[in-house]
Symmetry: C2
Subunit: 338 residues, 2 copies
């Protein structure tokens, strides 16, 4: 089969690879329906994370069950499945607590920009739809496997509820999905920090009520002006930089909550500053598996359409162009079709 | 009148001071019933915070209303009152959100180890009891004005609820009160980290089910052993050092919560470590005013007795000995009677 391999920063190649096989009785192999490039794939692509030798890429996927291991009894070949970027047995103590992305047997997926993918702990990781969904639904279901689940988690961690005022820091695919999540959870006011007109438009279409284009001190001032001088009850940090975290912490009101879902790079939080702010902070890799049944249902009933974050569709073999387009911010998120 | 003044680290004097007066229409002056020395008073006493010239000390108090300003309509001279170490108008946006210790007009009290005290924003800050409580209740009500309110906030911030497993880091007065709070909130298992036998006894009397005497890596291992290998759902950090914060973060399970209520000194939290832990973090100066009516009721109905944290009683004029005894850990907390 063929799939994407990173060789060095900026160097993505579409190569012939070994066909994935069942290695453990708990594995499944799926045939990829659609896959995509994630904002977090850009960290190594941009050299912000070490590459350390050629390796396959991709952790977002929906597909068709091709083959299952002997311990996988709930899935059958031909089923359409949605998974998470983090595998989970869905039975360990952390899974039972709803933190499947901290499963005691977790593996982070990293071979999904390919025609076939081996899924460890398939029974706990994958959720099959009742029927094969129409093709037009696939992008939204693909979004659920990561960015929509991550946006939902941001809203959860930031304690968004009915009547909330929510600030979303970041207008990438996760930030945009976080707007959907805040809206679905009943936020009355959703303020999105964005400087890009096309992303602002999509944010508004998803439910944003206000856009703040300023950054830094000016951005913080603007948020304060919009929130009665004290800041927002919920802030969803969807970037992962020190600047974004600072923006988030200073945009929350005393007693407010920051949910941070962008993998932090060079972020340190000063204990005394956090203390006197009274702001709560919770983040991490999204427990997507917890949300899958609900989010799949919201997509299939056409209540939400996170598939709109894909503004570029390419054949899988042009995966390198997908990276380039996202790196140069020509695209929010690139969908790849095998 | 007379009161305590710090001149330099280790140098507390009991001196004649100006009688406090009504400076603003929203002020009250109270005659101190009992006051005490706080663990946080030891930071400047030990030179861990700059002293910067002689200044009065003390922020915990219960007393009798002596005089009120013209804008104070809900209090009358002679009433017995309990306040908070942080003043609050109890009407601003932060107060209405329940974060009175972040009142837009907050002042931190700092003149309470004295015979009389001026209380700014008296109407929002003070809660009067219906009758003057029996003298034996005064220590418990005094505890409510800070350490018991702070222990309650630790349990709140750590999301302790019915059936919780809670770890309390720190066996000072706040840590011991945090045990009371965890018990009252329905925690089934309360693990206290303590190496001092007398404090362990009091912790058990307050509801602790397990004691862990180990610290550092060993302490973390011991907590994991006691919590099914994954850590506790709620951790109450009642110290404020980097070591205690580390202990707390590593004692919480994925998805668990750390409430941190000791003022952090040289504490920095690594963003990526917090991210991958899935642990939520919230702290700050306790919003004692929010809890006062409830905690006063729990004391007066003899449901709780946080007054037991006072294991040394001295005449106010011997305040310096109170500091010494706490500094040398001969006392958990020194009660001072004018």
């Amino acid at each position: 089969m063929r799939g994407a391999v990173i060789h060095a920063p900026g160097d993505i190649r579409f190569e012939t690879l070994d066909d994935p096989k069942i290695l453990h009785p708990t594995d499944a192999v799926i045939r990829t329906a659609v896959t995509c490039v994630c904002g977090s794939d850009l960290w190594p692509y941009r050299g912000a994370e070490p590459v350390g030798g050629p390796h396959p890429m991709g952790h977002e996927y929906v597909g068709f069950v091709e083959e299952v291991g002997s311990a996988v009894t709930s899935l059958t070949p031909g089923q359409f499945v949605v998974g998470s970027f983090a595998t989970s047995d869905n039975t360990c103590a952390n899974c039972r607590n709803g933190f499947q992305s901290n499963c005691l047997h977790r593996e982070f997926m990293s071979t999904c920009q390919a025609e076939y993918v081996r899924i460890p702990h398939a029974q706990g990781t994958l959720v099959a739809t009742e029927e094969v969904p129409e093709r037009e639904m696939w992008p939204a279901l693909l979004a659920v496997s990561d960015v929509m689940g991550t946006g939902w988690w941001a809203a959860d961690a930031a304690e968004v509820g009915p009547g909330s005022t929510a600030v979303v820091v970041g207008d990438g695919a996760v930030g945009l999905c976080a707007v959907i999540a805040a809206k679905e959870k009943g936020a009355e006011r959703i303020i999105v920090m964005s400087r890009h007109e096309s992303r602002q438009r999509l944010a508004r279409a998803f439910g944003a009520t206000d856009i703040v284009a300023e950054r830094g001190e000016e951005g913080i001032e603007r948020i304060k002006e919009l929130t009665g001088g004290i800041g927002a009850g919920s802030v969803l940090e969807c970037v992962g930089t020190a600047e974004a975290m600072r923006q988030a912490l200073h945009s929350a009101r005393p007693g407010g909550s920051v949910g941070f879902v962008g993998v932090p790079h060079d972020v340190a939080v000063d204990g005394q500053e956090l203390f006197f702010s009274h702001v709560g902070l919770r983040g991490g890799p999204a427990p997507v598996r917890r949300y899958l049944p609900d989010l799949i249902d919201r997509v299939l009933t056409r209540r939400i359409d996170p598939g709109r974050v894909f503004d570029l569709t390419l054949p899988l073999e042009q995966v390198a162009e997908g990276y380039r387009a996202m790196d140069e911010r020509r695209a929010v998120k690139a969908l790849l079709t095998p």
